[in-house]
Symmetry: C2
Subunit: 142 residues, 2 copies
DNA sequence: ATTCATGCAAATGCTTTGCATCATT
DNA sequence: AATGATGCAAAGCATTTGCATGAAT
């Protein structure tokens, strides 16, 4: 399935109208290797006619429909967004330079299953982020 | 060790001066069962003479010294703070009412050990938050 | 005495919103 | 035609900062 087909499927299933701006944002999320913030998305759209508030609104409607997951960049208050794929990934973030490395696999599958059976909650998502210092920053004393 | 002794130890070790405001904030964090936001802290200090920006500055200097860990409330951009205890805890947060339940134990100890050996990063903290719907919200259709 | 902490007010930066216009259904 | 999407400008809100004063070392 192509990105475009993927996008169209998401719009149809969610009931959101198909527009150029939404497709642009969807494409960026689709090709992102890790959660990205609004500024990064907007910068990638510098040559397109799209307003910053449209980017925000697009992302929020995607989140409301479950198409996209919202998170935060490290411990900052900057929101990040990523496509809500079946195969989710977790990341290590460098506390200094914010470099992000994607980890393979999810170490929590068993644990989440356990919680579903014992917690009384309806378990939905989980957020896991490992913080550390990347090899490069580790060697700089700043 | 009492809260006060704990606080004094933290200030001595970090080099931060001991002040009434810092002690007040430290006490609140000490007795909090889960990460709390600045507004909640400030409300608990309503009868004390303390400025909101002092609360922010106090928390940020605690974070800088590793006394406190900073996070986020659910997927919002509101910062939360908790004491950086040896025995860290994780939580389930209700996506509707923001009720927080503390989980026992950390399911990631083995995994983090593994990452320390293989990732090339100096692994520091990790953030894990489970999102779900609490028993009460689960039964309300809103 | 020096260094750091605090209050206050103003500024910052990310995000949201009201409203008129435009595009998709 | 009706409903929803977008641009633009203004507002909102959490957080930060400059500066003068006050307190801890």
């Amino acid at each position: 399935m192509t990105v475009k087909e993927d996008y169209e499927k998401a719009m149809l299933e969610s009931g959101l109208k198909m527009t150029i701006r939404r497709e642009l944002v969807y494409h960026i999320l689709y090709h992102a290797e890790f959660p990205i913030d609004v500024e990064s998305i907007y910068k990638k759209l510098i040559h397109e006619k799209i307003n910053l508030s449209t980017v925000y609104r697009t992302l929020e409607s995607f989140v409301a429909k479950g198409i996209v997951k919202k998170g935060n960049l490290g411990n900052t208050s900057v929101a990040t967004y990523e496509l809500n794929r079946k195969e989710h990934k977790h990341h290590i973030v460098c506390v200094k330079c914010h470099q992000v490395v994607t980890l393979s696999g999810c170490p929590l599958e068993q644990y989440v299953k356990h919680l579903k059976e014992t917690s009384g909650f309806e378990i939905l998502e989980h957020k896991l982020e490992i913080q550390g210092m990347c090899p490069s920053c580790k060697n700089k004393d700043c």
